[in-house]
Amino acid sequence: MTHSAAQVSYLEDGHTLRSWLLTTDHKRIAILYFVAITFFFFAGGFAAFLMRYNLLSPHGLLGSAETYNRLFSMHGILMVWFFLVPAVPVTLGNFLIPLMLGARDLAFPRLNLLSWYLFMAAGFVALYAVVAGGVDTGWTFYTPLTSLYSKGHVVAAIVAIFIAGFSSIATGLNFIVSIHKLRAPGMTWYKMPVFLWSLYATSVILVLATPVLAMTLLLLAFERIFGIGVFDPAIGGDPLLFQHLFWFYSHPAVYVMILPGFGVISEIVPAFSRKELFGYKFVVWASIAIAVIGFLVWGHHMFVAGTSLFSAIVFSLLSYMVAVPSAIKVFNWIGTMHKGYIHFDSPMLYAIGFIGLFTTGGLTGLFVAALAADVHLTQTYFVVAHFHYVMVGGMVSAYFAGLHFWWPKITGRLYPEMWGRAGAITIFVGFNLTFFPQFVLGYLGMPRRYFAYPQQFEALNLLSSAGALVLALGYLLPLGYLTWSLLYGERASANPWGATGLEWTTPSPPPTENFAVTPIVTQAPYQYEQPEAASHE
């Protein structure tokens, strides 16, 4: 029970399979999640790649619309529930929250392990649904198509998401309780790094929104199984009710994806600017504001769905409100760089890429929040481009930024820096090539989820598919050099970046108990020394 030898690295503390599969160490669980998440990212990415291949020709190259529909449904389901929503919280969050808090583990370590098993169970059910033939409803599962008309394996897909939801809830609950109860002595709320605040806000959404999705999907499964149910217009049910409930989860889920990214960037920008985070309290409260207002904007997915004029106006206004805190964050990151001493290591390059792509995604959000503009743009490739800029350009870049930043801490190894920079730049270029043409396609009216499309959209689709090739290469690069570094990378010191934060005070990789002695916090976060005094480089 008690590990007196605090210096044994968590990676060395047991080598059996059992020591991994039955571990309650948050760091080992994070590694288990890393493996699973990486698999789902590339599985979902492969589906996207086939979609882009299909769209090379206006007639569709895959030969079957059914195959195409199943591919984009699989892409959406795997990416949303098995990568974007969990990725940062379960990997970096699991690994770092106790370290940043100055704690030895999360509040409920066994619950943490359980949530990994739930996630894996969900993943296997999802893969079963895919192998059995998949679903063709899109990840949005609109009724009555999904409940009464679709021929795919809808119930299996729903069960997968339902279980994954409970894994999310368990994780969120664990994080909230840990942040409340396990902060090291002296770590007041305003001494917490922004990463913790963001994950706190994320967890609140996970805990409060996910159950709504779970129930909605259960109602959907009921209708699917019995052929009659509460959303069925034939007996007076309302399909719009499904959409309301679905987006009540799925819009806040967007903030579940992006808020942890904000947290990562708020750690990296000060670290590589050697400067305190500009407007700490504003950044913190912007996260909380996003979590709160984010619950009140779901109706903006339904401006053309048949809701009332009044609701459309209210949701439009609230959607503009929720964009304000995101803008505040962007300005604060730039403010942090002002008068700093900026280093261009890989994490910073990914972070700068994030700021650019996220800002573009956010600005195009203003287009679709403006009611009359949304009428034209919604359901087209414009919306596809918009949310990919936020989700992939934003969230995935932030995930990679965080991965590169904490990689030495997690693995105890350094990756080849030049390869890291090449990866960051390839991803940035490939991403823009893939998705920028889709804004234009959307404006020109190309509808999403079309297996074949009119001739006039061909050139832009070719460009987008060519970009996807570059992007795919960009994502394979980190897979290659990070794996290489596990075996051959240089050993990392405890704090290779000279960053602040409790996680950098432990050895790399950290011992099982994290801290030999519980740290006592006296300083605010991000107290970087003035390099002129400390003569950096």
Binding site: Y142, V330, L371
Partner: protein, 320 residues
């Protein structure tokens, strides 16, 4: 694709103007963000010897400044987009109504004269057109990018969409709500013609072959489904003396307000009449016993539309 730009409707051109404004705002912000990042990347790179000077300790001034500026710009965009949307939402009173039924995977259109077409919609220019749309199965979406409009088409209810085209031409029509395997095939075209051409088209062989005026077809259904048995021939209403039961008069009903047993007053529009036929229990009319049976599942959406057309055609006191 010809005629995509400028848009063929006034509202479409205004949407484009709004989009242009959004584009300019976005470009300005992006220029600012990228400009500052690039500037700082060069000026404040670690190796640069530039003098950093004292840091501002009044961060909150910047915070208030950019928060207020963001709010102001956002609010302006919200008002602009909202104002235009309200207009897109409210059709002019004299709009020509055309009925659209979506089903997997085709658009079925019926004109008031009974002319039917599939995956095509012929309309006159310079005249407001209102589409009354419903679906037989799943949710579809009627989208004409050239007019910058779209609206979902739902089963079990009527949704409307209006536009007024100011030049002739053929414009692409898409279904933009995933509706199953054939989603991508649910396309067609909107053909805008001058008023004389449109009338010629309505009367032409192709369009009129075997068609019957919608109201006339509705009249046959009115008898065939036994509506006249209670509501009387020509929908004059029933009483224990004439038809044996107390039934409300339907002639002159359309567009007038109706008092319900719940105390609410509603206007008798297409949606209301549809509800009365399919779910009479939902709309018990004050002063009459609730004995009307539901016709849900017995009449197709297209027949319901014809019945409605017939009821709309009945003027007070008329006995057609």
């Amino acid at each position: 694709m010809n005629g995509y730009w400028p848009s063929a409707t006034l509202e479409g051109r205004e949407v484009d103007l709004l989009l242009l404004a959004l584009l300019l705002v976005s470009c300005a912000v992006l220029a600012l963000v990228f400009g500052l990042i690039l500037l700082y990347m060069v000026r404040y790179r670690a190796g640069s010897g530039v003098h950093r000077g004292a840091r501002s300790d009044q961060a909150w001034r910047f915070e208030i400044g950019w928060t207020a500026a963001t709010l102001a710009v956002f609010f302006g965009l919200f008002i602009w987009g909202g104002d235009l949307y309200v207009r897109l939402f409210q059709p002019p009173a004299d709009a020509l109504q055309i009925y659209v039924v979506g089903k997997q995977w085709m658009w079925k259109v019926e004109h008031q004269g009974g002319q039917r077409e599939i995956n095509a919609l012929h309309v006159p220019i310079n005249r407001p057109i209102q589409l009354v749309m419903t679906s037989e199965d799943v949710i579809h979406d009627f989208s004409v990018p050239a007019f910058r409009i779209k609206h979902d088409v739902l089963p079990g209810r009527y949704e409307t969409l209006w536009f007024q085209i100011d030049r002739t031409g053929a414009f692409e029509l898409f279904c933009t709500q995933l509706c199953g395997v054939g989603h991508y095939t649910m396309t067609g075209e909107v053909v805008a013609m001058s008023q004389p051409d449109f009338e010629k088209w309505l009367a032409s062989g192709a369009a009129s072959e075997g068609h019957e005026d919608m109201a006339a077809a509705g009249k046959e259904l009115f008898t065939a489904h036994g509506c006249s048995g209670c509501h009387g021939e020509g929908g004059v209403g029933g009483s224990p003396e004439t038809t044996g039961v107390q039934a409300p008069a339907l002639a002159g009903l359309y567009g007038h307000s109706v008092k319900l047993q719940t105390g609410a007053t509603v206007t008798a529009d297409d949606k209301f009449i549809r509800d009365c036929i399919l779910t009479p229990d939902k709309t018990p009319v004050a002063g009459y016993p609730q004995i009307m049976p539901s016709f849900s599942g017995q009449i197709s959406e297209e027949k319901v539309l014809r019945l409605i057309a017939y009821i709309k055609s009945l003027k007070s006191g008329s006995r057609t």
